[in-house]
Symmetry: C2
Subunit: 378 residues, 2 copies
């Protein structure tokens, strides 16, 4: 399923290829997030034009609305949303532990109240896999226990034990035809816990491994550390996926730490507030200095927004509340994330990743506000 | 400028061709409304794909935001919004009289407060034409006095006199290169006033004539009457434009009464509430009966939305507040209005308009709610 094409001699970065029943994915890859069955503000044509290879869907959200019966009747998630290309579904673990009101953690799952209408629901390994089977995603994620990064060591250990046990239960569930399943490593920033969790999951032999419990409010060094202490225990011949990350510069740094797959709500979320990503950092398109700036969001960018519209026009649209404004910034930002990954792949293929990484990170000025925005609910 | 290609033997309907410096427009034509420089939720590519020939812009709104200096610096409205095809600009008369707080009607215009920030502004024939010249629209409208349909006869007469006087003043103002100017007939539902206004405007020899003071809250029969009593006094060799109208069935009926051009906010406005237009009337896509309806909004419709998405999916998107939902209903509705006009033109060319009209109006079930929605501010 995963083919390791090349490794970078100066870092842990890898060029790879992930084969799913609905298409081949070049890695490292960024996966736009379609939580509720739609990558916010974008349509499938726009996603394909910007080079999207795979998108995300979410078990928790889709289970609540529209509900499995409707997606089943449609013939699965791909059919329902008209995206015949690969889809990875998150198991809902993260949402149950972050969005829902938990009533009780039980041996085989979590009893919780919907964040929407308070109705009582139950999600565990069996249910999460059952739903993902019905959704028909190409890659399903195990149902994990994702505790806050501030959890006490004792709670963190309990979450890891539960995550391992539940991963084993997920492993036994039936799958959709051709569906791959990834394990999720938890353990916060405790190297021993991360190592133990990784080893136990690897022993279960999943199709790929995710690093979870990141992008949960922890500072960047802690996040990087969580990845660094996990990665050595993941097999080279399986894809690694860092969940819910990150800024463009973080993506580059995480690739250098051996990560192959990413998803993040940042590009579309900040777009709706009028913030655009560029290779120099973020810029507020609504800001006064863009009033008469008739250049595109970023010179040289080949996205639909930059080929057609100026900052001055987009600023006007955002200021008067026209939907086209947030649409076009969403297009640009998503394209930018995908382009960074394409550039990374090209640099890895050309053997120039070290240089690319150095220049990219030097140019990119991180914004505190953006780092915080990532940590909101997803 | 306007070429009358064919007239229907059974009604006043006309097939025509309107030549502007930015392209030829086949009439009867529907013009999507881009009040603030964007047809709500749609991008220029989508507009072209659905057969848009000309869009509207608005002097009042664009004058307030982003302001003329910015549009000037961009090189005009076409450049600013990246729509190189024809644009008609409304003069702002309607908005001044409906949206703004009027402070004083003066001989040469209206002193009013911006509906946004209360700042004191002045708009009259000279200013409206100056702004439209700077916008560089292909068709400019005269600055008129558009009174409520409930106005007393005395006020209606004063408005007509003012409209005629201001039309004369507009006629004398400089224009952008190739810019055409249309007069606007007022007079409510008083046949004598309408006749007088039409005759006086025709004497001023405009490039086309609009019927204003419709779509201002009057009942449909009164609206139809206003058109019927005006049309006979408009020259056959000039285009006629009924402002702010209407539902699909009304468009067919107005074509039958000799109107060539239409604009209306209905298709995009109701789309944002999840209401779709079909040839049988409107349908609420959010309604429960669409839950598992995997057909397109309208069978046989060739719009982007109907080619790609089902009612069930669009209902889900609208219910969870995903922007793609309102985008796609906006695409469908705008396409539907444009398709009705294309079908009308085909029927006129084939000599089958009487049949088309009869069938269309018989099939189309009007909705009271929709008729009311049209009457809101534009």
């Amino acid at each position: 399923m995963f083919e390791l094409l090349k490794t970078d001699p100066h870092s842990r970065a890898r060029l790879g290829r992930l084969t799913t029943s609905r298409g081949v994915i070049d890695t490292p890859v960024f996966m736009p997030v379609g939580t509720q069955g739609s990558v916010k503000a974008l349509d499938p044509r726009e996603l394909l034009e910007m080079g999207t290879q795979i998108i995300l869907g979410n078990t928790y959200h889709l289970h609540i609305r529209p509900g499995l019966d409707i997606i089943n009747a449609a013939g699965g998630l791909h059919q329902f949303i008209n995206w015949p290309h690969p889809i990875l579904t998150d198991s809902g673990g993260f949402q149950v532990f972050s969005l829902a009101k938990i009533r009780k953690i039980k041996p085989h799952g979590v009893e919780f109240r919907s964040h929407l209408d308070g109705s009582l629901l139950f999600l565990g390994p069996k249910e999460a896999m059952e739903i993902q089977r019905a959704l028909g995603s190409d890659i399903a994620m195990v149902f994990d226990d994702c505790p806050p990064h501030t959890s006490a060591p004792r709670e963190m250990r309990a979450a890891v034990e539960r995550t391992i046990r539940w991963a084993g239960e997920c492993r036994e569930q039936p799958r959709a035809a051709g569906q791959k399943v990834f394990g999720i490593v938890q353990g916060g920033s405790d190297p021993a816990l991360r190592e133990e969790c990784a080893k136990q999951l690897v022993a279960l032999d999943f199709d790929g491994y995710a690093i979870g419990g990141v992008s949960v409010g922890e500072p960047e060094p802690e996040m990087m550390k969580a990845v660094e202490v996990t990665e050595p225990f993941l097999p080279a011949n399986k894809a690694r996926y860092a969940m819910g990350l990150g800024t463009p510069a973080q993506l580059v740094e995480l690739v250098a730490r051996g990560v192959d797959m990413f998803d993040c709500v940042l590009p579309t979320r900040v777009a709706r507030n009028g913030t655009a990503f560029t290779t120099r950092g973020t810029v507020s398109i609504k800001a006064g200095f863009n009033k008469s700036d008739f250049r595109p969001i970023e010179e040289g960018c080949e996205c639909f927004a930059c080929r057609h519209f100026t900052r001055a026009y987009l600023r006007h649209l955002l200021n008067v509340g026209e939907i086209l404004g947030l649409r076009m910034v969403s297009v640009h930002n998503s394209h930018m994330f995908l382009k960074v990954m394409a550039d990374i792949r090209a640099a890895l293929a050309a053997g120039t990743f070290a240089e690319f990484r150095r220049e990219f990170v030097a140019n990119y000025i991180p914004s505190r506000k953006i780092l915080l925005a990532r940590e909101e609910s997803r």
